[in-house]
């Protein structure tokens, strides 16, 4: 018995020593195993993909081991709150503050409660679509229809990225036909499959979707009940321009450009068009050592200078978009304030 116990003791000591030695090996403030929690629980989604690309690049650059854990929004924020030593960091996109703006449960103001860090990529795919045989051929058709008193139903997932474009269209109706904005009615659904289904069932006139998930539907012949057309891509012109010329699937970049402002205009106010880029960025615990964030700045700067990560991103239809932490925070706050104004103006 004693022998076994002492054997266990020895084994434990060796293991503990081995790990602590491993941890001391590198001198950088970022070392060992870093857990990257993301605000999505899907490993097939864009957040996971974008995070994996950047995590791989960081692992290679820093000789550390970045691992992406798709724990979902709530769990990700909780994990981040708990660990301030930089061994857990978070990656999420605009949903982080949009959820807060839309008053969703479980969303605190990320700029207040956490340290918002570097942006690194954009998914330019956020799109609105109609059935190919729809009477609406453009966003303006939709706005006019709502303005003339017709109810137009838009399938969205409420409370965030999926809703923001709908909010913008509603705001555009308000600007052009004051008082008629409620004719643009939301149809609250969840997954992409539910949104598509809502269109097939005739429950929705317009659906939120993405270039990635819906591009093939837009190439179906018009007599196929599944056929769809793009109405609007919310991304900025400058963003889509950076995509590879092949675009996505059978739709070239130039074809995609036809659905982007200024070709499609959804006015935000008298002078400006509304655009929305779904940007991915890092979020840190408030107490995180600034040295760690600075080291991440340096590492990402170098990664993007080398240019390899950009190619990987573009191959997967992401647009590289690096801003160091001091710039990104201000930038994202401005972005948030812009959208806050629109959401506020539609509140009753």
């Amino acid at each position: 018995m004693k022998k076994i116990l002492s054997g266990v003791g020895v084994a434990l000591c060796t293991l503990t020593m081995a790990t602590s030695m491993q941890a001391q090996a590198a001198d950088s403030p970022i070392k060992g195993n870093i857990r990257v929690v993301i605000g999505s629980s899907s490993t097939g989604g864009d957040t996971y993909q974008a995070s994996s690309i950047i995590a791989d690049a960081l692992s290679e650059k820093l000789g550390a081991n970045f691992k992406v854990d798709a724990v979902g929004v709530t769990a990700a924020f909780r994990a981040l709150e708990r660990v301030s030593n930089g061994s857990t960091i978070m990656v999420f996109h605009d949903q982080a503050y949009l959820g807060n703006l839309y008053g969703q449960k479980g969303y605190d103001d990320p700029f207040e409660k956490y340290t918002v860090g570097q942006t690194f990529a954009i998914n330019p795919g956020n799109a609105y679509l109609v059935a190919k045989n729809s009477p609406y051929k453009s966003v303006q058709d939709v706005i006019d229809a709502a303005g003339s008193g017709k109810t137009v139903r838009v399938a969205i997932q409420p409370g965030g990225v999926s809703e923001i474009g709908y909010t913008a269209m509603k705001n555009a109706v308000r600007l052009q036909y004051p008082g008629m904005e409620d004719n643009l009615a939301p149809l609250n659904t969840g997954s992409q499959s539910d949104k598509n289904q809502a269109m097939f069932d005739g429950l929705a006139d317009v659906i939120n979707g993405s270039v990635q998930a819906n591009e093939q539907y837009t190439r179906l012949p018009a007599d196929d009940q599944k056929a769809m057309s793009f109405l609007w891509l919310t991304a900025r012109e400058g963003t889509v321009k950076q995509a590879n010329p092949e675009g996505m699937g059978g739709t070239s970049r130039d074809d995609l450009m036809k659905f982007v402002a200024p070709m499609v205009s959804v006015p935000m106010d008298e002078s400006k068009n509304f655009t929305f880029d779904k940007e991915f960025f890092f979020i840190y615990n408030k107490e995180t050592d600034p040295k760690i964030i600075a080291a991440m700045d340096v590492a990402l700067e170098e990664i993007f200078k080398e240019g390899k990560v950009q190619e990987t991103m573009k191959k997967s239809f992401f647009i590289p978009d690096f801003l160091p932490s001091n710039e990104s925070q201000q930038y994202l706050m401005n972005k948030r304030d812009q959208y806050a104004k629109i959401i506020e103006s539609l509140k009753k």
Binding site: G72, Q104, Q216
Partner: protein
């Protein structure tokens, strides 16, 4: 044919390796096929599309199949969809015939897997068009249909329905999730629970808590008595497995495989419904329904053929609509996007090579699964001979890993294990039936979404009857299922009374 050039030895090697790793993942209580695919997803990056898919499809087939091993030997479903395998598989193993039970299930798995692969190959685009005819209403009715299994499954019909409803209620705890179309509000919990239960209880920890940990608590209460050697003698003394057990099971095999393929094909129904539906239909149509749940081969055949038929079924909407049919195929999407490829309605036509090579990998993986498991059985079955004082600590440890890892590292999921372990231990004593409860829990979430969304969209209850011919057919099936189970309970009561009288 160009795709033949893609079928290199590495291609088959990866498919086989995937299958073997999948079986191991599936066979460990708490590890699932989804987890196996998710874990190996990053590997496919360096492999290239076709090799990567071969690996992942192997993992998928292996993972779904491996679930039958702990279901039979330990009464713990290795993956959620093997829950109905425990109903008959474990009683048979307990009666001293674990090898036979395993073999029956493996053969049924192979049939289900091949059946669905063939359906996938020949009818994918057509069936996808059929699948989109199922709106909220038809999907709700299918789930309702699956819930009627509770009536025929329960020992005491009142207690069974009560337990089922309790399971549904447990599934509703947490947020009415916006990603399912909800409004993101909390319900059924107190403020202090919010940080833990915001996303509700996770299925897998609940399942292995109720089946795994609860059993250990029960045994601990009994004092962990090692069964004497007679059970080991039994292991040898029985008639060996013979393909004769499948006599009269052909229609069962075809029906259950069809149900599995069909349920897999409908996005949003959830894979576990497949085996539950197949099992209940078999019970309704069986000549000896009273034997089911006590080690009947037909129950295992129904459950396993349906749950493996899920694989091909779930790939149908993935490859012809770009929409995953279950949680594992949802991860599989990542493999395509990692390679810069999108699945969608034009995918098969534009990527014939990929399509053919996927089919080759799928078929091959099914045979590897069969070969590997059929011949490893005599060793696998020995698990029942491991003394409990060794086995139980290992089970707890593996359950902990599974629970912690299922949502990529959440400690509350581990505590969920304990909560439901204790609950399961207590439930048996106060007459709550665990099987109906679990089925209610599995189906509760989607039942809510589709029910509420149906009413929200159409504003009337009558739509459930008038929406489409499909809805009418589903109502007839539901009615038949309910009538069958009432008749069965009556018959059982009569039989029990007769036995009592005879004894008196």
């Amino acid at each position: 044919m160009e795709f033949l050039a893609l079928l290199s030895p590495e291609f088959f090697l990866l498919s086989a390796a995937g299958c073997l790793i999948g079986i191991i993942f599936g066979a460990i209580p708490g590890m699932t096929a989804t987890m196996a695919v998710a874990v190996c997803l990053p590997l496919t990056y360096s492999l290239g599309l076709h090799e990567g898919l071969a690996l992942l499809l192997g993992l998928y087939v292996g993972g779904i199949s491996g679930g039958l091993v702990p279901a039979i030997l330990l009464n713990i479903p290795g993956t959620p969809s093997s829950i109905t395998t425990t109903f008959d598989g474990h009683p048979m193993a307990k009666a001293g015939e674990p090898e036979k039970a395993l073999k029956i299930c493996i053969v049924a798995s192979l049939v289900g897997g091949l059946f669905s692969a063939v359906v996938l190959f020949f009818f994918a685009p057509m069936l996808a068009d059929f699948a989109i005819k199922f709106s909220y209403i038809e999907k709700f009715l299918i789930i309702f249909f699956a819930l009627t299994v509770i009536a025929s499954l329960s020992k005491n019909i009142l207690a069974g329905i009560f337990s089922g409803l309790l399971g549904v209620l447990l599934a509703l705890i947490g947020t009415y999730d916006t990603s399912n179309g909800g409004n993101g509000e909390y319900r059924l919990m107190f403020d202090f629970m919010v940080p833990y239960l915001e996303t509700g209880f996770s299925l897998l920890p609940v399942l292995i808590g109720l089946f795994g940990l609860a059993t250990i608590f029960e045994e601990a209460e009994k004092g962990i008595k090692e069964e004497d050697t007679h059970s080991q003698i039994k292991l040898k003394g029985h008639k060996p497995f013979h393909f004769g057990v499948f006599k009269g099971q052909i229609s069962n095999l075809i029906r259950s495989s069809s149900i599995g393929t069909f349920v897999g094909m409908l996005p949003g129904i959830g894979g576990s419904a497949a085996s539950v539906l197949a099992y209940s239909q078999q019970k309704n149509l069986s000549k000896n329904p009273e034997k089911m749940g006590k080690g009947a081969a037909e129950g295992m055949v129904a459950s396993e053929s349906a749950n493996n038929a899920l694989t091909g079924g779930a790939l149908i909407p993935l490859l012809s609509l770009g929409i995953p049919g279950d949680s594992t195929t949802a991860v599989l999407i990542g493999a395509f996007t990692l390679q810069g490829l999108q699945v969608g309605p034009l995918f098969i036509g534009e990527h014939m090579d990929t399509w053919y090579s996927m089919m080759a990998a799928l078929l091959f993986a099914n045979f590897v699964m069969f070969g590997a498991m059929f011949f490893a059985i005599r060793y696998i079955a020995k698990v029942v001979m491991v003394p409990k004082y060794i086995l139980y600590p290992i089970i707890i440890m593996m359950c902990v890993i599974g629970a912690y890892a299922i949502n990529y590292g959440i400690m509350f999921d581990v505590w969920t294990l304990l909560i439901f372990g204790l609950f399961g231990w207590l439930a048996g004593k106060i007459g709550i039936e665990v099987a109906p409860l679990v089925i209610g829990f599995i189906l509760g979430g989607s039942a809510e979404v589709y029910f509420v969304k149906s009413i929200e969209s159409y504003g009337t209850l009558s739509i459930f009857f008038t929406k489409s011919p499909i809805a009418v057919v589903l109502w007839l099936l539901i009615l038949a299922s309910v009538v069958f189970s009432i008749l069965m309970h009556r018959k059982n009561k009569r039989l029990a009374n007769q036995v009592e009288e005879a004894n008196a």
